[in-house]
């Protein structure tokens, strides 16, 4: 394999050693290259963990400079999933924006919806007028999504380390959350359920009983996952003491969520800046001081149990609030349409259609204008944060007084976490890169937007 040069990558990922021979490997020639490199005494190799990779949690490119098994430099290349969602939202009404922002971080879609809607409601000034039942439904959705997101993190983490059963066990547990979410919203994921002003529709009859019947099963599956992993000696060997990030580094890099809590700071937006009525729920915030990957996995499992506690409290409140509205009372903002289950699936409720077509002209006008034009939002800018399973998710909304956002920018927690990749990986081993990526728990959809 003769040495070939290739153009220096624009991000300057390669060492500036001009005389070092450079090799490009295309597969099945790795042994030749390593022989050659060893013969020449070159130990430092650049490995591209490319965008298409089973272990990179999405389309992430990691450029690793390795010397033997040790990683000397790690650089992350992102943008492979950039969708231009933020610019797209500038051409859609405020309510249609929900369907766009929900697809940013697709594992925790409800959180994007909530943070966006809370921001819009802040701009409208109707935060206090959101009905309580809507808030309880929002909390219910958020906590179920939190469990789902943590299960993806734990499951894919286990899968990337070679334990496929962890993934199947985690995803089966996740299916229970999907059953509940589907019962209430009609879709498993990317629901666009939470709208500015409340939620799209009320939960059908029998929801709370159904949820209560599934919770013991979910707890059992979480126990199963804990049994599978946490005391496993191989798991411990691979995760303990790996990917350390101490508190000072975490804070200087803007890392939040379980990564920050594993470094010892019990910082949770739900407790410090509560929204949607979180101050009235009884739950703990698990924290650890071990700073390593193992403690993060343990923290996520603990948070799943806490979320189930909150879900139970939500069910009790939903029972107590039977029949209350789920949309704000102001008819100029409230989403007008109602959905119902018909013979061919979920669609427009016939009662609603009869009302707007036959009974009330104002209702028809409101429906038409709200759906086509949308409601205008007074000019100004606002910043809203929520505690998503990955960390602090923020949105910066600027309104020009119109029916479409002037600017919507999301501050995704995974963006900051991925910045910390270099710190987590450098000095460690190649295999630890996979563990670091898995326990950082970012989702490229949110990172790239």
């Amino acid at each position: 394999m003769s040495p070939q040069t290739f153009t220096t990558h624009p991000t300057g990922a390669f060492s500036a050693d001009e005389d070092a021979p450079e090799y490009t490997a295309y597969g099945q020639d790795w042994s030749e290259i390593s022989e050659e490199a060893k013969r020449l005494g070159q130990q430092r190799i650049v490995v591209n963990m490319g965008p298409q990779h089973p272990s990179t949690h999405g389309v992430l490119r990691v450029m690793l400079e390795i010397e033997g098994e040790t990683v000397t430099e790690a650089r992350a290349g992102i943008g492979f999933l950039h969708t231009g969602i933020e610019k797209n939202m500038e051409f859609r009404t405020w309510t249609q924006g929900v369907t766009f922002c929900t697809r940013m971080d697709y594992v925790q879609s409800m959180f994007q919806e909530v943070v966006y809607c809370l921001g819009v409601e802040k701009l409208l000034g109707i935060t206090d007028e959101i009905p309580e039942r809507a808030n309880v439904l929002r909390v219910l959705m958020m906590e179920l999504t939190r469990v789902g997101s943590h299960l993806v993190a734990i499951g894919t983490g286990g899968n990337e380390m070679g334990a496929t059963t962890v993934m199947t066990a985690a995803f089966i547990a996740r299916e229970d959350t999907f059953r509940i979410i589907e019962m209430i919203t009609g879709l498993r994921t990317n629901n666009a359920y939470i709208r500015p002003g409340g939620v799209a529709q009320d939960s059908p009859e029998g929801t709370t009983d159904y949820i209560r019947s599934l919770i013991p099963e979910m707890r059992h599956r979480l126990d199963q996952l804990a049994d599978l992993q946490l005391e496993n000696p191989i798991f411990k060997l691979r995760l303990k003491g790996v990917a350390n990030l101490n508190l000072a580094s975490a804070m200087s890099l803007g890392v939040t969520g379980p990564m920050l809590r594993s470094a010892g700071l019990p910082y949770d937006m739900r407790k410090t800046n509560p929204y949607c009525g979180y101050e009235t729920y009884d739950f703990q915030v698990p924290t650890s001081t071990d700073e390593d990957a193992y403690s993060r996995v343990v923290l996520r499992m603990e948070e799943c149990y806490e979320s189930l506690k909150i879900v139970e409290q939500c069910c009790d409140r939903l029972d107590a609030m039977e029949g209350q509205p789920v949309m704000v009372a102001d008819k100029k903002i409230a989403w007008p349409a109602q959905l119902a289950l018909g013979p061919d699936g979920q669609g427009n409720s016939l009662d609603h259609i009869r009302h707007i077509m036959g009974e009330s002209m104002e209702a028809l006008i409101h429906h038409f204008k709200l759906v086509t034009e949308g409601f205008p939002v007074p000019a100004g800018q606002v910043y809203q944060q929520v505690e998503s399973p990955k960390g602090v998710l923020g949105v910066h909304l600027v309104s020009d007084g119109g029916t479409k956002p002037w600017r919507a920018h999301f501050r995704d927690p995974g963006f900051n976490h991925l910045q910390a990749l270099s710190i987590l990986c450098q000095g460690g081993q190649v295999a630890d890169v996979v563990v670091a990526i898995a326990t950082m728990d970012f989702v490229l959809g949110g990172v790239d937007r």
Binding site: G27, L81, Y106
Partner: protein, 173 residues
């Protein structure tokens, strides 16, 4: 005689289609869910999702393909060995989906030849299984050798004579 060979090869090929992991966005999560026990893609033959395209048969393009990702998509497709098939999972890979903008390729058929388009945002796991079954039926019925040449020539002639989409006027049905 050729018919017998076609049946045999078709049956064998359709029997165990191993997908290459090309999960990009939300559809990837549903693709992963299809691999898990509730929906279980393994019972249809897709036992493992191969990380290396060299060992894979089908490429499930699951998710939105950005302009930055398109060359990599093509490279992975080229690295797959024949015979290979592509399922465009979800509306983003079929046609750009809801993202009609500067960043997203408006359909992966701009980059790779697609066999099955699966709409949905994201499609339910059952829909993905349906697409896979559909593809398996297509593979089982694939003509080979002289039959293939004849049918390909007929298809090309029909396509050349057909009305282009932009000239189809009248009913929007």
């Amino acid at each position: 005689m050729l018919g017998g060979v076609e049946d045999f090869l078709g049956y064998m090929r359709a029997g165990s289609l191993w997908p290459a992991t090309f999960g990009l966005a939300c559809c990837a999560i549903e693709m992963m869910a299809t691999g898990t026990p509730r929906f279980d893609i393994a019972r249809l033959g897709s036992e493992v999702f191969r990380g290396s395209p060299r060992q894979a048969d089908i490429m499930l393009v699951a998710g939105r393909v950005s302009n930055k990702m398109a060359p990599i998509l093509r490279q992975v497709y080229d690295q797959m060995a024949e015979p290979k098939w592509v399922i465009a999972m979800g509306v983003c890979s079929s046609s750009g989906g809801m993202f009609n903008n500067y960043a997203i390729v408006q359909g992966v058929d701009h980059v790779v030849p697609v066999d099955i388009y699966l709409p949905g945002c994201p499609p339910r796991p059952e829909m993905l299984l349906n697409a896979l079954i559909e593809l398996q039926e297509q593979i089982r019925d694939t003509p080979l050798g002289a039959n293939r040449k004849r049918i390909a020539a007929a298809a090309e002639a029909a396509a050349l004579e057909a009305t282009p989409t932009s000239d189809m006027k009248g009913l929007l049905r």
